[in-house]
Symmetry: C2
């Protein structure tokens, strides 16, 4: 059984708040602080250019990728870290389209994170393809998978509601229909057990700064199924994806497999933070994390529903149909979330009316949940949100 008191001690968290926003930005692992300090002062500062060889910088995209692979059911050597989730999705989608033959439909759902849809809209247009990006309601995805679909592109967990797609079933149906699959694991990796190999998914991408705690804007990752990478001509081709980067050939010869998904020089400071953060997962089973996440979120829902009649559950009530977040709808949700933050509970807001709370057993326990529900209860009961200062929208919500 995972010892969550031990993992809690791996993180630095301010004492005066309950942090229920690890689904948006994970907190600082002590190991990441120490690692970044070392990379800056001793590696960059003292080794300088020699750091690329002597400090393992050049291998970090693989090192980090392999650590992430263990959390998402991917074999060693099938994941690389780097770039942003959007850029990796662009690689995955253009790769998928190149494999998809003559079909003309890219299927996704209206609950997908908008950047995924932007990537698809503009990639299709840029490639001069006559594909249609077909969006259906999340519950209609399974029914829309048929032999007209080229690519199924989904985010497993809805960023607003936490609704969880059945990756296994949808991927199986896609495969039966000859559809190439892309899964965005932004809210899945580190949140619950994922089995990419078991599901036989073709591509996956995900985020390093949410449940993986890699720091603000941490590098993202991309997975390509074994054997598939070699069949893709990268649209984004850079020297780090070349078979021999330091031969400086004038002609592009893609490296084998997942390596060709590398593009430019990796951002070492950000990559090192993520690498160190991932060590928090050593010796942890994702099943334990999931079980604990459900305990925490179930208690949170019970407490909020009894304390806050004005809040309406916007997440699936069945914990097995949601990820590791719980959302409540409230017309004044933005102001209410600002008031919660001012009163010591950090969650976030998603337009138009969603108050979102993440549950991250590595560093959040039942005491935190109780403390949070008490504070939220007071904010709602006393209408503390009804103040002008809480209505002023910040640039980033």
């Amino acid at each position: 059984m995972t010892d969550f008191a031990r993992t809690r001690a791996l993180f630095e968290l301010p004492e005066d708040i309950v942090y229920l926003d690890g689904n948006s930005l994970g907190p600082l692992p002590r190991a990441a602080r120490e690692r970044v300090s070392r990379v800056v002062s001793r590696e960059w500062g003292q080794k300088l250019i020699r750091g690329w060889n002597e400090a393992g910088w050049m291998d970090l995209p693989d090192t980090v990728g392999n650590k992430i692979a263990k959390l998402i059911g991917a074999p060693e050597g099938t994941v690389v870290a780097g770039d942003s989730t959007s850029v990796n999705l662009h690689k995955a989608l253009t790769g998928a389209l190149s494999l998809a033959g003559q079909r003309k439909v890219v299927l996704s759902d209206t609950g997908n994170f908008p950047t995924d849809l932007y990537v698809a809209q503009m990639a299709i247009r840029a490639l001069g393809k006559d594909h249609e990006l077909k969006l259906v309601a999340p519950e209609d995805v399974a029914g829309a998978i048929d032999e007209t679909v080229a690519v199924l592109m989904l985010t497993q967990i809805d960023y607003r509601t936490g609704r969880l797609h059945d990756m296994q079933a949808l991927t199986a149906k896609a495969r039966e229909n000859g559809v190439v699959t892309i899964w965005d694991l932004a809210h899945s990796a580190g949140a619950l057990p994922v089995d990419l190999a078991g599901a036989n998914a073709d591509f996956a991408v995900g985020c390093g700064y949410k449940y993986l705690n890699g720091g603000p804007g941490a590098p993202a990752f991309i997975y390509v199924k074994p054997g598939l990478g070699d069949r893709i001509d990268p649209v984004l081709a850079g020297w780090m994806g070349h078979e021999a980067p330091f031969a400086f050939d004038l002609a592009y010869r893609p490296a084998a497999g997942i390596q060709r998904m590398r593009v430019g020089t990796p951002p070492i400071l950000s990559m090192a933070a993520l690498d160190a953060a991932l060590d928090a997962w050593d010796g942890i089973t994702m099943d334990d994390v999931r079980a604990r996440s459900i305990e925490l979120s179930e208690r949170f829902i019970t407490e909020i529903e009894s304390r806050c009649p004005d809040l309406t559950l916007a997440s699936p009530r069945d914990p097995h149909r949601r990820g590791s977040q719980v959302s409540f709808a409230f017309p004044e949700g933005y102001a209410a979330m600002q008031a919660c933050i001012a009163h010591g509970v950090i969650g976030d807001f998603r337009a138009p009316d969603i108050m979102r709370f993440g549950f991250t057993p590595l560093y959040i326990g039942m005491d935190d949940v109780i403390r949070a529900t008490e504070a939220i209860g007071r904010v709602m009961r006393e209408k503390l949100w009804d103040r002008a200062e809480y209505r002023t929208r910040a640039k980033v919500t």
Copy 2:
């Protein structure tokens, strides 16, 4: 007159080496060390998600972009930092092709950095274009610019020889012939005066980790001429380039101008290091930097040529025809550079036979140059490079 003793004190450099590789990875500015420490411990650690608003994280791509703009003759609001140079070049080239009408030639030269050519080869193929990537010798570029050329894509300073293209003249000829221009400033930004607006260039990209000292794999940058950005439909479309990222619209509506060149969430740790590093340029004139760089490199050439008859100058002898690096050819260049490094002079090697040395007046003075030439002289005179240990190729050269 710039006080280079003052700027030298802004950097942390090991005392036992002379660092002539700032053209590959700039050294650590004290301000970057302090800034990264603050961003990690106080911003990420204490503000957590609030850092996006309260610590200016979301604006960093612009903040950094505007600091770089000043160094390359670009107006405020025309440069954003982020992604890698390769990814930014992909944005620039796909943007340029969308503006270039029916012409079918992308013109570049054989001295271009290979990643630039890889980007072009694969972007052309992916877009389903029937463009030809036409490569000519660097000295033949001007003669090859004619009305068949869609896009002129050049790196201003040759990464091997330091040969400097005349940006003003080539851009003017390109414009006369209706050719869209892209300049890669990887070895130019922070190395010598660049005047993008004066040259009337259309696009430029460049690197944050060489002369700008932003740290290993620092974010890159992209410039788009005022008025041009609004005419481009980004191929790489992400939420940070949307008109209203936090409205979470399902349809992509590109932000105005350069802002649509943003894609995913910016890597804050790496971006903050670059932001702090750029403050080293406050109060410095690029003309002074250039004059001092020429003094240093001229003396270096004189000393090496008198001490090392086996080394052949591979850079243009006229300092006004080269950037801020000096290269010598030597058949055993790899081993010789390893021996130089072992004897306290860090430069680097570029296949097949180039020993490369960078001159960076912010932190390298004439004493360093003399010390370096003495050590290199000894390595060559005593054939210290002729040892097996220096021949073993590292992963990164």
